[in-house]
Amino acid sequence: MALKALDIYKLLPKKNCKECGFPTCLTFAMKLASGKADAETCPYLDEATKQLLKGATRPPILRVKIGVGERSFAVGEEIVLFRHDKSFVHPPGILFLVSDRQTTDEIRRVATRVKDEVFPRVGELLRVNGIAIRNDSGSPEAFGKAVRVVEETAEFPEMLIAGSPASMEAALAECGNYRPLIHAATAENHGAMCSLAKRYGAPLAVRARGADALRNLAGTCAAAGVQDLVLDPFPETLGEFLITSTLIRRLALARSAPELGYPVYLDATAPGLEEAALSLGILKYAAVMVTTPRNPASLLPSLTLRQNIYTDPQKPIQMTPGIYRVGNPTRGDPLLLTVNFSLTYFTLLGYLESSRISCFLLLVDTEGFSVLTAVASGKLNENMIRDSLQRFGVEAETGHRTLVLPGYAAPLSGRVEEATGWKVLVGPRDAAEVPEFLEQSWKKAPGG
């Protein structure tokens, strides 16, 4: 159960010696209660109290890091059941599955995809996070060899899937120091898997069907000293996953079952239902997922859904307002007004770049709202356009006073001309038509 600041205060030495870095024991208690301090920093606590405080003040869902280096990713630390309550925090890691029965070439091909494939989207790079290698052969040698092939290709997070501790050990000998996720400790093998996880300091997935069984097994593994756990509820259907993962998230957030306060794993390779499983995992609390190496045609939608769902609902992905140059614009080239919603900017940019147009873009601060949304809500108006023209010294750059407005901002055109003294051209609504519009209208415009 979570402790309140006063309950914590009662457990402190009350010396007010400031050695923890806080002015009083009470302040320290308040910081602990809100998760902003670590019990370790008070030198006068006995071990038992320290452990008690750590359990009570840890984040409801522990952070687990998988892999090392640039491509490593962290999961856990989630604080809500619904994204609209605040925001989801760490997007789930998606791993491509290979089998140690596949040929070296096949494994290498998948690993190369994981290394190189990126999908740029609205200013972010979408990609798969790593690779999961499964010990289908049952042989430790074959498993170790498959891991070696992956290791030779690149550095990215790995997950090792094997039921036998001997196989796991062979694979860990290849990559154990790079924090691979070990899958899985089960009722049968948890002793051996726990010691491997401890020996290598690697995160460990715990597999048991349903929340109760998981709670027991995770408790056992934590007691054995493994700190970084991931829970695999081992569902038979998508419906069962939804029910169990929701229950785990609820219990963890309520802190009523600390043994369930870990990130959740989902094997999304369900035959014929893979994209549904991936979607469900993204929406409903999976933190690590394994999928077959999907065709990019249907992988991109999954990655886009993950990007959407893990965007802070309070803050659309935004661009810094200001003047942006497309191509190599010189004085006299067109000036286009748009908003600072990054989707809008990148959509427009895509069409302008592909038709090799040089121009200036004035991004005004609509707090990340799209053109139509900003117009509908009054966030895009003549006064802020006037102020932006001044603030960013636009005229000095362009050498003319003609501004192209988005088609959806047409209702503002008269007022903008009045407020700014600039000539306004109303462009098309659809960005796809902007290049053709500029070809035809800009040359005729007085500025051009």
Binding site: T237, A254, S279, K284, P296, L300, P301, Q307, I309, S370
Partner: protein, 320 residues
């Protein structure tokens, strides 16, 4: 937060389609709504229901997504045949007919429209959603004719909005239909519109909320969260939001990622893009999910069935 949330509300039920016994000609009547928990959770419904899947068709395909026109070929020119295939070949639960001919600036042809609705009613035995005029000037004529054409069939008529709801409400009341109430991704606006409709006499069991669904990558996350919030508010006891929800992300098949896909990948990209807004809408609690690509129907149905199944081998029924 407790292990199990305490709910006080229930989502209201709406009946769609009338069989012979109820004075219509449909082969089935659906009852949507009725949930008592978050979507697909154990308390929701005892029978493992999945959402209904509507295939959208239109009477004038000029502006319809190219990937769909390629798929359906000549059907696009024959609304009744298209509707029949929606039922027989593609396995939709409902057909949603968009009277897109009203988009074009031509003299409206209310009699023609009425005939179209009648021919679709004759071609399929499924309950229908009719999406009427998209021009306020035509509303009263169009809804009146559509309502009349489907009198007694318990159509779902679309779409009422905050500044345009009187004609459609009048048609629904006169001929016994239900209405779609759409507001732009905002729980308070959704609530307001439901109140407006109620005030002019539309009973709550004739309203289906459309919270407006943006395509994946184009605002979908807002729509997803609004659907979750609506369900949550309703379960917490807000009766002005306790109606079933319909979701359609009509731009899914024309987004840039589909248009720019290599020709060999385009169909798969389109299907997957549509799926990734439709399936999450079901997860968020939509009772009816609409798609435009005919091959999306099975894909979505299989996924929703797997979601409604608690254990292996328990098939989920649509609606009803």
């Amino acid at each position: 937060m407790a292990e199990q949330e305490e709910w006080t509300g229930t989502i209201g039920r709406v009946l769609l389609g009338a069989t012979r016994g109820d004075g219509g000609t449909r082969s089935v009547q659906y009852c949507i709504g009725g949930s008592r928990d978050l979507p697909f959770l154990p308390g929701e419904a005892p029978c493992g229901k999945r959402p209904l899947i509507a295939l959208e068709i239109c009477d004038d395909p000029v502006l319809w997504p190219p990937v769909v026109r390629e798929q359906v070929g000549d059907l696009a020119g024959d609304t009744a045949a298209w509707a029949r295939e929606a039922e027989k070949t593609y396995g939709a639960d409902l057909v949603r007919l968009h009277l897109t001919s009203t988009h074009r600036r031509q003299t409206p042809d209310p009699d023609g429209m009425k005939k179209t609705v009648e021919s679709v009613l004759a071609a399929t035995t499924l309950p229908l959603i009719i999406e009427g005029s998209s021009d306020p000037a035509l509303d009263s004529e169009v809804f009146q004719r559509c309502g009349e054409a489907g009198a007694g069939e318990r159509l779902l008529l679309g779409t009422a909005e905050a500044d345009r709801y009187r004609s459609i409400a009048a048609a629904a009341l006169a001929y016994g239909h239900a209405v779609i109430a759409q507001s732009p991704i905002d729980i308070n606006l959704a609530k307001q519109l439901n109140i407006l409709l109620r005030e002019i006499g539309v009973p709550v069991d004739r309203i289906v909320i459309d919270p407006y669904t943006g395509a994946l990558g184009y605002g979908f996350e807002y729509s997803y969260s609004v659907m979750e919030r609506i369900r949550y508010a309703a379960l917490k006891g807000d009766t002005d939001l306790a109606m079933p929800v319909i979701s359609a992300a009509p731009d899914s098949l024309t987004v840039r990622e589909v248009r720019d896909a290599a020709p060999a990948d385009r169909q798969e990209r389109a299907l997957s893009w549509e799926f990734h807004a439709a399936f999450p809408a079901a997860v968020a609690g939509a009772d009816i999910v609409c798609v435009r690509h005919p091959l999306s129907v099975k894909r979505l149905r299989d996924a929703c069935s797997a979601l409604a199944a608690r254990q292996k081998g328990t098939p989920a029924q649509g609606g009803g």
